[in-house]
Structure formats: C-alpha cells, structure tokens
Amino acid sequence: MNCEEATKLMDGYLDGELDPITSQTIEQHLRECHKCDQAYKTHGSLIRAIGNATPYYKAPAELRERIQSSLREEIAERPTRNVARDARSLFLRGQRGPRTVPSEIPWNWLSLAAAIIFAAIIALNLVPRLQRPGADQLLGTQLIASHVRSLMANHLTDVASSDQHTVKPWLDAKLDFAPAVVDLASEGFPLVGGRLDYLDNRPVAALVYQRRKHFINLFVWPAEPDATRSTKALTRQGYQLLHWVDSDFNYWAVSDVNDKDLQAFKQLFEEQIAHH
C-alpha cells in the first residue's frame, strides 16, 4: 500500500469500518511510514476532539408532549374500522327491533350475515398473499440465524473435509435426500465440509464453502414438485442471501461476501453440478 491509498482509507480505518485484511494492510503501512502515521494520529485526535465537543441538541420536553398529543389526535380522527363494534351495534338494534319496527330484524341480520361472508371472502383471498412475504421473511431470519450460529459456536461442520466424496455419503446417510456436493477449490471456493441443520421445519443439508476469509453456508433441501425455477437475491443485516431452485432442490446461500462473489459462486456451483 502506498501513501495515497492509505490517506484515502484513513477515515474508514479511524472509524473501524474497514474489513480486517485492509485494516491490517494500513496498520502495516503506518508502522513503516512515519509521515502517514503522524498524519493519522493528528487527524484521529482532532476528529475525536471535534466530535466530542459538537453540541448535541436534545429535544425539549414540550416537543415530546406536542408529538404525543398530535399522535392521539391522529388516531381519534381515523375512521373506525372496528368490525366487532359495528357488528355489536347491529346486534343491539336487532334486539330492540321487535318492540319498535319488527321488519328491521331480518334486514339487519341479513346485512350482518352479508358483511361476515364478504369479510370471509376477502380474508380467504388476502391470507395467502399475506402469508408469502411473511413466510419468506421468517425463512430469511432462520437462514441468517443458522449461518451466524454456525460461525459463532465453532460448529461450522459436522464432517470437515474438502473431499466431496467424503461429505456426500455422510450427508446421504443422515438425510432422506441426497444433495449434490461439489468442490470448487480450483475456482476459489474450496469446500470446507458439511453439516446437518434444521430449517423451514425440516432437516436440511448445509454445505460450507470458503471464499478467502469468509464462509458461505449453502443450505439444500428438496424442492416442491411444482416449484418454479427462480433466483432471488436479498440483503439482510449486512448478509447476502441468494436463493435458487433447480429441478431437484431448493438452494439458499448465505454469507457476508459481496453480492458479486455470491452470484459467481452460484454460477460455478450450477456448472459443476451439470458436469457431474
């Protein structure tokens, strides 16, 4: 690293926002270059001092009260969509009905019944639509949790081997399906091992690959028979998730590598499977 590059990255280094490898390279440069080291120290102490002395504008107490009362006004103004109360008022009117206007009773009951049927139709149409994003979100959270846990608890692999012919039989024996296992070491994604995991209410295979210092968890389980072949990329809490489906399996790759690397990984993986 030269001085120009080090200067460019100095603020990121100061804020502790660089990846470990770049940080180390800068540290190395600062040890070797007295000029940059001085500049870094001066810049750092100055920025910290300014940051600490910058006036912080706390919210005055009356602002909190103003906000709270405006929020209360807001809900008071909302049109009441409280179905339960509407139904009850209909019900009460119906009870009073016989003494005053007898013909009103069936009318009200009819409209109540119609309202219930209408609500049921809407609900039946809406629920499946609501359910999908909810289900995906839940799965996404589970995937990230599994990935993080695998790195945290020193339980990355149940079977640690870069040999696909060791990992595959091991997984096949534990699962009710036989996922394809390929080693991508020559393409820069060495296979580290395999693990059993539990996702989406079923046991799944987790294949662990490495990309430089980063790990990729590839979760595999059988696809639904009618599943469409699709690819989906998500970013959540700083993790990249990549989902695809082939004729046999559902794949979810989770990692902290960048999106491009993960896409490349998917492509290589698919190519290798096709060759097998």
Binding site: K8, L9, M10, D11, G12, D15, E17, T42, H43, S45, L46, I47, A49, I50, G51, A53, T54, P55, Y56, Y57, K58, A59, P60, L63, R64, R66, I67, Q68, S70, L71, R72, E74, I75, R78, N82, V127, L130, Q131, G134, A135, Q137, L138, D176, F177, A178, P179, A180, D200, N201, R202, P222, E224, P225, G238, D246, S247, D248, F249, I273, H276
Partner: protein, 210 residues
Amino acid sequence: MALLLKEEHASETEDFESDPKIVKFVVVKKREEQHHSPKGELTSFEALMLPHLDAAHNLARWLLRNEQDAQDVVQEAYLRAFKSFAGFHGSNGRAWLLTIVRNTSYTLLKKNRAVDLTTTFDEEIHGSGHESVSPATILEHSEDAELIREAMDELPAEFREILALRHQEGLSYKEIADIAQIPPGTVMSRLARARAKLKECLAARIGKEK
C-alpha cells in the same frame, strides 16, 4: 451428480411442506392482532420510537439550523412514521425514524432555500488566510463548542448530516448509507470530505480571530 429425490420419500416431503404453512399463518395472525386496536398500535409505536426523539431532534436541528423548523419537522416526521408504522418490520427503529426525519427535513430545505443542498463552497471566504493555522492550533480550539457549531453550520447539508450521524449518533457506515440514501461505498469518502471541510472552516475562523 445431482441425484433425484428418492421415490419412497416423496410423500414425506409433501407432508413437510404442508406443516410450515400452518405455523406461519399463526405468526402472521398474531402480528395483526398486536396492531389491531389503534391504541395498541400507538403504545407500541411510542415504546419503539420515542426513545429516539433526541436523535431525531438533533439531526433535524443540524439540517435546518433553526430550532422552530427542527421541532416542526420532528413532529411531522413522527406523524408520518406513525402512519407508515404498519410497514415497519425491521429491528433498527432509530435508523428507520432518522430516515423519515431526514427526508422531511430535506422537503422543507428544498422549499425554503434550494441553494443549501449542493456542495458548493465559497472559495473566497475559505480560500485564504488559514494556511498558517496548524492542526495543533485547531486542536487547541477543539473544545470550543460555539466555534465548532459555527463552523459546522457553514457546511452544506449533506456534510452536516453525515457528521451528526457519525460523530454524535455513532452510526455505522451501513446505517448512514441507508439513512442518507447513498451507496455504502460513498459514505467513507463523503465523511472524509466533510471532515476536511470542517477542519478548513475551523482554521478559517481561528485565522480570522488572530
């Protein structure tokens, strides 16, 4: 070789698939019940968002440089946030709220004085007279809150915003990128430019005082 799903287990797989749907349905329903009554929704909104009132006010105050405008914007932002609260499913309430505060502030800034938004810098004022001021001299003055406030108020809005978010809220680059709606890679360079300009402004003020 990609093996086909073993025949004898095909039916089991289908069973697996029907189960999760029931579980998920319950989860979705529970969520809706929580927000069913407006009162309940307000309670959870306040519990999640009012703790960030100081952060919201501080950001608006730095962006608008005016106490009255800042308070109006924060109130407006809370109202907007409440209206779209149903769409908030994340875990970072502070970043979500600050994004709304920031957008509301910019709407007002654009309406009032469009000039302020761009990163133009008056070279006549800042171009000369402070070359002689050393970092050590700036450091001596760095506890002067009034001086820093004046220098920071001179900066363009995008610099005031990024400095407040990083120095005062201690937000990560990722969070800043989300709030300021810029690519994560831009955060570091913008922050570096903002800090350099702030140093320049401080130096200019100290130079003038001399």
